[in-house]
């Protein structure tokens, strides 16, 4: 029997149940009836709060889109140095996922499901990093290095792959061999390795690589 909840409480309980189901089964693996059963309400009551399964799914994603504010905080409170801002943004991103790994599961499902709107949502989350890296390297990598443009494009992808795999390893499939390394330590190590691997001396970078106006 359904407990009596206020409208906003009911909406929140539906969102919460839907989030867990979407994370475990993907958008297409879950029906509206199943979500309604999980919160002990009829589908009719669910439809009072959400027009469709898609709008419910969009509302779940919307809950995860609030990290922009944290990016602004990072920029305001950290220096404008390339490495500081990159490290700060990475911390914001992994904190957001670590606090709610469902977003990572939903992202992995969405890669297989191929829904354009959902893919765009997740691509945009990563685009903050890839744009930032491409922009920063474009300004600061020497012009005479071989394959400069390819290096810059590949660097963004490399960073995305590194961070996503770290999140999978630490949040979804905890590994014994990584047990002594916290996600935050791992993230800092990866940022350092990333800078080194694209041929930038970190000390040199921190002295001169700021994003210019």
């Amino acid at each position: 029997m359904s407990q009596r909840l206020s409208g906003p409480e009911r909406r929140e309980s539906i969102l919460s149940a839907a989030q867990g189901l979407f994370a475990n089964k993907g958008l297409h693996g879950v029906s509206v009836d199943e979500i309604a059963r999980a919160v002990h309400v009829s589908p009719a009551i669910l439809y009072r709060h959400f027009d469709s399964k898609q709008s419910l799914y969009d509302a779940v994603l919307e809950k995860f889109s609030c990290q922009r504010q944290s990016y602004v905080d990072t920029i305001v409170n950290h220096g404008t140095r390339f490495e500081d801002a990159l490290a700060g943004m990475t911390q914001v991103f992994i904190k957001n996922v670590a606090e709610n790994p469902d977003i990572l599961k939903i992202e992995l499902h969405s890669l297989l499901e191929g829904n354009p709107a959902t893919l765009a949502f997740f691509q945009n989350r990563w685009k903050s990093f890839t744009d930032y890296i491409e922009f920063g390297l474009n300004e600061y990598l020497p012009y005479d290095i071989p394959n400069r443009e390819k290096t810059i494009l590949s660097a963004g992808l490399m960073f995305q792959g590194m961070v996503r795999e770290a999140l999978i390893q630490k949040c979804l499939q905890p590994q014994d061999r990584l047990v002594d390394l916290s996600l935050y330590e791992l993230s800092n190590e990866l940022v350092t390795l990333f800078l080194r691997s694209i041929g930038i001396n970190k000390t040199q970078l921190s002295r001169k690589a700021t994003i210019s106006s």
């Binding site: 922009r68 602004v72 990072t74 920029i75 305001v76 801002a85 744009d131 930032y132 994003i211």
Partner: protein, 76 residues
């Protein structure tokens, strides 16, 4: 409206417009105004939050020819 400096952040995603604006404002004197042009719809909220946190004044925020245009006056 007169501006003391202008920053075109078209095509850039959060947080790049904020980062570049912060750098541009640091080069201004108190009371001077920076014009910023951006294309990212989220930049409207971003610049509101940025000004609230930094104490700089968001003099105007609007849309012109499909782009978002902001005027920020540097705080004393």
């Amino acid at each position: 409206m007169d501006f003391d400096s202008e920053l075109d952040a078209s095509g850039l995603n959060c947080p790049l417009p904020i980062l570049r604006a912060k750098k541009a404002i640091s080069a201004l004197d108190a009371g001077q105004t920076l014009k910023i042009i951006a294309t990212d719809p989220g930049s409207v909220k971003d610049f509101e939050a940025f000004c609230k946190q930094t104490g700089n004044e968001l003099v105007s925020s609007g849309e012109e020819e499909g782009k978002f245009v902001f005027a920020i006056k540097k705080a004393a």
